[in-house]
Amino acid sequence: MVLELERPMISLRHVSRHYGPIRAVDDVTLDIAAGEFFSLLGPSGCGKTTLLRMLGGFDAPTFGEVFIDGKSMAGVPANRRPTNMVFQNYALFPHLSIRENVGYGLLNRKMTKAAVADRVAQALEMIRLGHLADRWPHQLSGGQRQRVALARALVCEPKVLLLDEPLGALDKKLRAEMQSELRRIQRAVGITFVLVTHDQEEALTLSDRIAIMSAGRPLQIGDPRSLYEAPENRAVAEFIGEMNFFRAEVQAVRPEGTSVRVDGLGDLTVATRGTVAAGSAVTLAMRPEKIVLSWERPPHTDGMIEGRVVSETYLGDRCQYGVAVANHAAPIRVVTQNNMPGAGRQQDRPVWLDYPREALLLLTM
């Protein structure tokens, strides 16, 4: 799972953080490239925030070592690290104006007052809040505070920017706006961003690469497309997006693929992934939107599954149906675009499901 990069900005080598008997972070080894937008994605308590805090210097690994830009960070306190953090609650100083907040870190540098003022003005321009420079943090909206926190960290020109669930407190619309803003700024400044989030959509939208964390370890690291299209194990497949799972038994492993007998789908040949042996039990996974649903009986039903609609969930632009099929316990979830008239209130109707064979993913774990 370790990706060897040419010149990693961040290298974690067997990093663990134990709190008593709890292993918050458990033997993590990974590299993050310079200029990359990297996300740590996972449910709360999976160790992603602890990992971020160890990068920032607010927590020290129990074992292992953190390197930033090739230098070991062991014993380097937070104020001497080339990192800056955007805190979850923004942590703007309530006794300082927006201008003073943004310039806070620069006053620790050997810079003339004019140079500081210049950089602060530039940063405020970048986040489009130049007109609010003399306001106080409590006078700003959540989204504006968020941008000030971002500017305050970015004016220090860190090598790595750490973001701890920065959009968690914003409403959905504002969050989408801030996401594109974050992406724009990251492209503009070219700094390595490390984002912690539990919002998979946010991680998919923003990141170059994502590490999906669970119980202190990354389950899979990859770009958003590969994580969504080719999850390596059931936990990742479950965590990102919706997924149908089928129990199956391996019949034979051949060069052209693996023959499996699948509950509800019958005998099939799918692409071999991982190591499988004939006779072993495996799981097959399929995204609901890959399945094509026909309300009328098609002329050729070879390879299709016949089922009955048992539930319908209206999602605005899409509809999700539960389709009960023979020989499979849970209804198969199917998502269709609402671009055809006449859909709706289709309970108990017989339907035919078709799917491309490559949509079926073989999961060994």
Partner: protein, 334 residues
């Protein structure tokens, strides 16, 4: 009376349509407007508190002001309004009297000199109290993880004894045969007991600083406790060392607590007369001692009242100025 009116108006309104009709007069409308007013309701709820403040605070103050315009004629007090007492305090003189290099062009400068001296001693005590209390409050807020309540109780422990006893205890510590002197003599560091420990302004300042410490610790502790911990991390993240973080984040954000502590200590200590009486000696007397003697041995209560009023006014102006100064920077918060 107000409640009676309310009941009347409810009665009138309730029956208005059936019996009174258009006879519903302007009085009833006024009463209903009165009844529906939020602020009237608020003041009604405040009545008990206002009565207490009026009876226990404003009326004695008014009596004191009235007394300050009276005059003493032998054993009686003449209540004919006069400015005699204020003239006594502020009567100008051609030749100045110097106190700490400040010239006082006054006929009887003792009052103003003592007031200035009291304010200075009180300021020094307040500064000493804050310097003592801040580290303790800091420790309590940031270092103590468990059992904070026990620590707070321990801090207030000295206050379970009377103020008088606490002052007396300093007499025992600083006295000619006291703890400090006998300890130093027994250790052979000094041959003779030091006589400059007690009965001077320094002794008063030390005693006041100790006696009022807890009043300063608690407000400072509360203001430190309220600071969002992530602000400290943000400050370090932006490159601050421990000292810089303290000066740029901790101190400014705990300033309201420091200001409150300063008020709580400064205001009562200016007028204190117990401590200077017991440990101040001849050198350490303060304005409170003059007031006390005017009401007692000197038998001139109106003059004592006038000195009180002058002292109160000066302290009030000083405090308001201080609040204005610290409010200019911090009033915009929250």
């Amino acid at each position: 009376m107000l409640i009676g009116e309310e009941l009347t108006s409810i009665y009138v309104e309730g029956n208005a349509d059936r019996y009174v009709g258009e006879a519903r007069g302007s009085r009833s409308r006024w009463v209903s407007r009165f009844r529906n007013s939020e602020s009237v309701r608020g003041y009604l709820l405040l009545v008990p508190a206002l009565l207490v403040v009026g009876a226990l605070l404003l009326s004695p103050l008014a009596a004191l002001v009235a007394l300050s315009f009276a005059s003493q004629s032998y054993f009686d007090i003449d209540y004919t309004p006069t400015l005699t007492n204020y003239r006594t305090i502020f009567a100008p003189a051609a030749e100045p009297v110097y106190f700490l290099g400040i010239p006082f062009y006054l006929e009887s400068p003792i009052f103003m000199v003592l007031l200035v001296k009291s304010i200075l001693m009180s300021l020094v005590s307040t500064a000493a109290v804050i310097l003592l209390a801040y580290p303790m409050a800091y420790f309590l807020a940031f270092q103590v993880k468990r059992g904070k309540v026990i620590w707070i109780i321990l801090i207030t422990l000295p206050f379970w004894t009377s103020y008088l006893l606490r002052v007396f205890s300093w007499k025992i510590i600083l006295g000619f045969n006291g703890v400090v002197n006998s300890g130093l003599v027994d250790l052979g560091i000094i041959a003779q007991p030091l006589d400059f420990l007690l009965y001077n302004p320094t002794a008063v300042v030390i005693t006041l600083a100790h006696a009022w410490a807890a009043f300063a610790i608690l407000p400072i502790y509360v203001s430190l406790e309220k600071i969002d911990r992530s602000l400290f991390e943000a400050s370090v993240d932006l490159g601050d060392s421990w000292l810089k973080r303290f000066l740029r984040v901790t101190l400014p954000l705990s300033w309201p607590g420091v200001a409150a502590a300063a008020m709580l200590v400064f205001i009562p200590t200016v007028g204190d007369y117990v401590t200077p009486t017991l440990v101040g000696g001849r050198e350490g007397i303060m304005i409170g001692n003059i007031v006390q003697s005017q009401f007692g041995k000197a038998n001139n209560a109106p003059l004592g009242a006038a000195v009180s009023i002058v002292s109160m006014t000066v302290v009030a102006i000083g405090v308001l100025f201080f609040l204005w100064i610290s409010g200019r920077r911090h009033g915009t918060e929250r």
